[in-house]
């Protein structure tokens, strides 16, 4: 690492123009993130053409700040309205909204903000200090390893299936099934597309997610709008969390940030995956699991720390090797290309001034997030004072805009509404949409990497055992499945008893 470039980056970022752009980007990100239906990737894509006329460092800083802001913003709607503002905030809904119902919205939002800040800051520091080192790690993750990660991720479905295991597995299986729509990677054959070319690229999981989470909630709000009582309508507790709470959550936040950085740096997985992994680990490590899903603050801190840590994590291979770690950083790379900078391993050297400015911008944006976020969150809480009927209409409108803006496609809007009605039915039937979303996110990753692994390994399953990383991950997945079965309890109970006696 060239320390003079690091300093150049720092001085660059501290220019008035750049600070203004970073703060502007953060606010814009918060706003877009908080809107159900509008995601970070989409906002980046929309803002991108605007930055073409900027100086490369300024434009990139603004885009990175937007990414940071949106990664936190998504949790606001997730906690207050039960509609994830961005795909990566879907896991936050599980415990955030119950907290809000108990009148603890302020506490949940405060923890979410601080967890996001810590996660983002830690990933920023990892980016600044260890990018070249961690960047090469990406090359270790080929199709074989990616398949193992996807399998491990799929096992989360089991632990999310609260209450009825059958309905959870049903929901997850449905997600996997829907994810097979589209062109088969290895043969080019369209599957379940009914000759509809809008389905050839598959169903964009963001479209499904908007429908599955936001539309049912809007309909439920309308249904209950004449009931008068609103529990979540006032913030009765403080936004800034107590030091004691933060201290207690710190191991969780650190672990989740680590997960965020690692998942972020693996191409093909991003904030949407990391937040579920972090949530699952928070639950696994918790002594008392009974509160998860009913308003456990650790269940808010984990996904939020993770999805903000993804920002820095995904940037690591991007700047170290010119390989994007997520769909959002792919857009950042596009911004570089358009600016005439050919992304590659020379980003840290030849274009060090631009790159280090970007890194500092990520760190600065997280500090900005803490300040701006406090004010913005306080403001956004007032949304709960708006009558439910209006909120529902606003959510539906945003869902339609959001679904359209992903691919500029009206077809996607119809698809989103279809998923919405289906999600409404699921909610009435008591089936959680969360496992279905995981199936939708990881299904394509798993299928594609499996096909590639089989080609690479000459149709032998041995290919998974040849890779130490894949072997370890698959064993973890196996343990994770066994943990949920009675078999594991039979083994554990006598063991525990023996330990207690001994």
């Amino acid at each position: 690492m060239d320390s003079s470039l690091v300093m150049t980056g720092l001085t660059n970022v501290l220019s008035l123009t750049n600070i203004a752009c970073i703060l502007g980007g953060t606010v814009l990100g918060l706003f877009v993130g908080a809107m159900p239906g509008l995601s970070a990737t989409m906002a980046l894509a929309l803002l991108l053409p605007l930055t073409f006329s900027f100086d490369p460092a300024t434009g990139l800083s603004m885009l990175a700040a937007l990414y940071v802001g949106a990664s936190y913003g998504g949790s606001i709607a997730a906690i207050l309205l039960r509609t994830p503002g961005t795909p990566s905030a879907a896991a936050t809904v599980l415990d955030g909204f119950p907290l809000s119902q108990q009148g603890k919205a302020g506490q949940a939002l405060g923890i979410s903000l601080f967890a996001s800040f810590f996660g983002g800051l830690m990933s920023g520091i990892a980016l600044l200090t260890a990018a070249p080192l961690l960047g090469t790690l990406v090359l270790e993750f080929g199709p074989v390893e990616l398949f193992a990660i996807a399998v491990l991720g799929i096992t989360i479905i089991g632990s999310l299936a609260q209450g009825s295991v059958i309905s959870g597995l049903f929901s997850g299986g449905l997600g996997l099934l829907v994810s097979t729509v589209g062109m088969d990677l290895t043969t080019g054959t369209p599957r379940m597309t009914f000759d509809q070319i809008n389905l050839f690229s598959g169903i964009d999981f963001t479209v499904a997610l908007i429908g599955l989470f936001s539309v049912p909630q809007a309909l439920t709000l309308i249904e209950n709008s004449n009931q008068g009582e609103k529990v979540a309508s006032r913030i009765t507790d403080r936004l800034i969390p107590r030091l004691q709470t933060i201290k207690k959550l710190m191991p969780n936040i650190l672990r989740s940030s680590g997960i965020g950085v690692i998942v972020g740096l693996i191409p093909g997985t991003g904030g949407d995956t990391a937040s579920w992994f972090a949530y699952n680990e928070a639950k696994r490590f918790a002594k008392d699991k009974s509160h998860f899903g009913k308003g456990e603050i650790a269940g808010v801190a984990a996904p939020e720390a993770a999805n903000n840590a993804v920002v820095g994590g995904a940037l690591i291979p991007t700047i170290a090797l010119g390989i994007p770690g997520s769909s959002s950083t792919a857009i950042l790379l596009g911004a570089l290309m358009v600016q005439g900078i050919l992304p590659g391993p020379n980003l840290l050297t030849d274009y060090g001034d631009v790159t280090y400015t970007l890194i500092w911008a990520v760190i600065l944006a997280n500090v900005g997030l803490l300040v701006v976020g406090l004010a913005f969150t306080k403001m956004s809480v007032s949304v709960t004072r708006v009558p439910d009927g209006f909120v529902a209409c606003a959510i539906l409108t945003l869902c339609i805009i959001g679904a359209f803006a992903i691919n500029n496609s009206l077809f996607d809007v119809g698809l989103m509404l279809g998923f919405g009605l289906f999600g409404y039915w699921l909610a009435k039937a008591g089936v959680s949409p969360a496992p279905m979303v995981i199936g939708l996110i990881l299904g394509p990753v798993m299928e594609v990497s499996f096909q590639q692994s089989m080609l690479i390994g000459n149709d032998s399953f041995g290919v998974f055992l040849d890779s130490p990383i894949a072997t370890v991950l698959l064993i973890l997945a196996l343990l994770s499945i066994l943990q949920a079965t009675p078999a594991f309890r039979w083994v554990r109970r006598p063991l525990k008893r023996r330990l207690q006696r001994g």
């Binding site: 894509a45 990406v138 074989v144 080019g188 809008n198 050839f200 080609l455």
Partner: protein, 326 residues
């Protein structure tokens, strides 16, 4: 500093206003605004071309360009829209990527547009095909790679950017020309294919120069051969496949096309604009900096280029389709 900030924000707007009246003399027959349908997401290779070409075309023609991104079905969503549902008055054009433009409908009956429903305007860049391996790979030359395939048929793994992409077809063309067989591993784009080669997950990646040039320069990848007519200026030590006895010239090209039947005058003005652009030294320099290999082919020649490619790939696909879509 604040003054500069405001100027940075306002500059594009000021420029747009300033350009419009000056160049009004030669009015474009298709109106004062052209919508460009882009079949891929913002920030991709097509967008990079658009951002390089369109501001300059805008000056030459005295009109504004508006990008409309409609990703999906490897461009087919946008191209169907161009061919079937766009006004043919010269107000709508699209970035057309070959051979994807044709292989889309060659391979899938459900994709209903045809290049006969388009007016090819100009090809702008052709990114030549290239064979790359990991820097630590045992394959030092293209002969090493081919020998390995000869000794163990069907086991040497070759990454491509996806079924139907140029690299996929290049692999088949080489198989047919050499009588060898490889294990074709499709990826979702050139980037992941190159990354897999860099990590040593596959033996080689058939890729495109622009995508891997900086990785070759920095020593992460080694180029074994290029699918070009002649050796490339940027990589003078890398042999062409032609030199090695395989007459395969291939790559991924990007250009612009309009719907069929646009006014003759509009077509002519667009073609002339691209010809003017091709001579602009500043444009040439900018393209080189972005590792874009300029290959400006306009009008009827571009039509011929498309037809030729279509015939060739239709033949290849007819031969291998039963094998691929088992």
């Amino acid at each position: 500093m604040p003054a500069r900030t405001i100027m940075q924000w306002l500059a594009p707007a000021v420029l747009a206003v300033a350009i419009a009246p000056v160049t009004q003399a030669a009015e474009y027959a298709g109106g004062d605004e052209i919508t460009v349908l882009q079949g891929f997401k913002p920030g991709g290779g097509s967008d990079a071309l658009a951002q390089l070409v369109q501001p300059r075309l805008s000056e030459i023609l005295g009109i504004n360009f508006v990008n409309e991104y409609m990703p999906g079905a490897t461009g087919a969503v946008a191209w169907t829209r161009l061919a079937k549902q766009s006004p043919n008055d010269g107000s709508v054009i699209s970035i057309t990527n070959t051979p994807m433009l044709m292989t889309n409908y060659i391979m899938n009956d459900a994709i209903s547009y045809d290049t006969d429903e388009m007016t090819p305007i100009a090809n702008v860049v052709t990114d030549p095909g290239i064979v790359v391996v990991n820097a630590d790979s045992e394959y030092q030359t293209i002969e090493n790679l081919l020998d390995a395939a000869k000794q163990n048929p069907g086991t040497v793994t070759i990454g491509n950017s996806g079924v139907g992409g140029d690299d996929f077809f290049t692999t088949i063309l080489l198989e047919q020309a050499s009588g060898l067989s490889f294990k074709r591993v499709p990826f979702q784009g050139d980037g992941p294919s190159a990354t897999a080669a860099m990590g040593g997950k596959i033996d080689a990646s058939f890729n495109n120069l622009g995508n891997v040039y900086s990785q070759i320069e920095s020593g992460n990848l080694r180029a074994l051969a290029v699918f070009a007519e002649e050796r490339l200026d940027t990589l003078p030590d890398v042999p062409t496949m032609k030199e090695k006895g395989f007459d395969i010239v291939a790559g991924s090209s990007r250009g612009y096309s309009a719907p069929a039947g646009i006014p003759v005058e509009a077509r002519q003005q667009l073609i002339e604009a691209f010809q003017t652009l091709a001579k602009d030294p500043d444009f040439q320099a900018q393209a080189e900096q972005r590792a874009m290999n300029l290959d400006v082919v306009t009008g009827d020649d571009y039509r011929a280029m498309i037809d030729q490619m279509e015939e060739r790939f239709r033949g290849v696909w007819d031969e291998v389709k039963d094998d691929v879509a088992q």
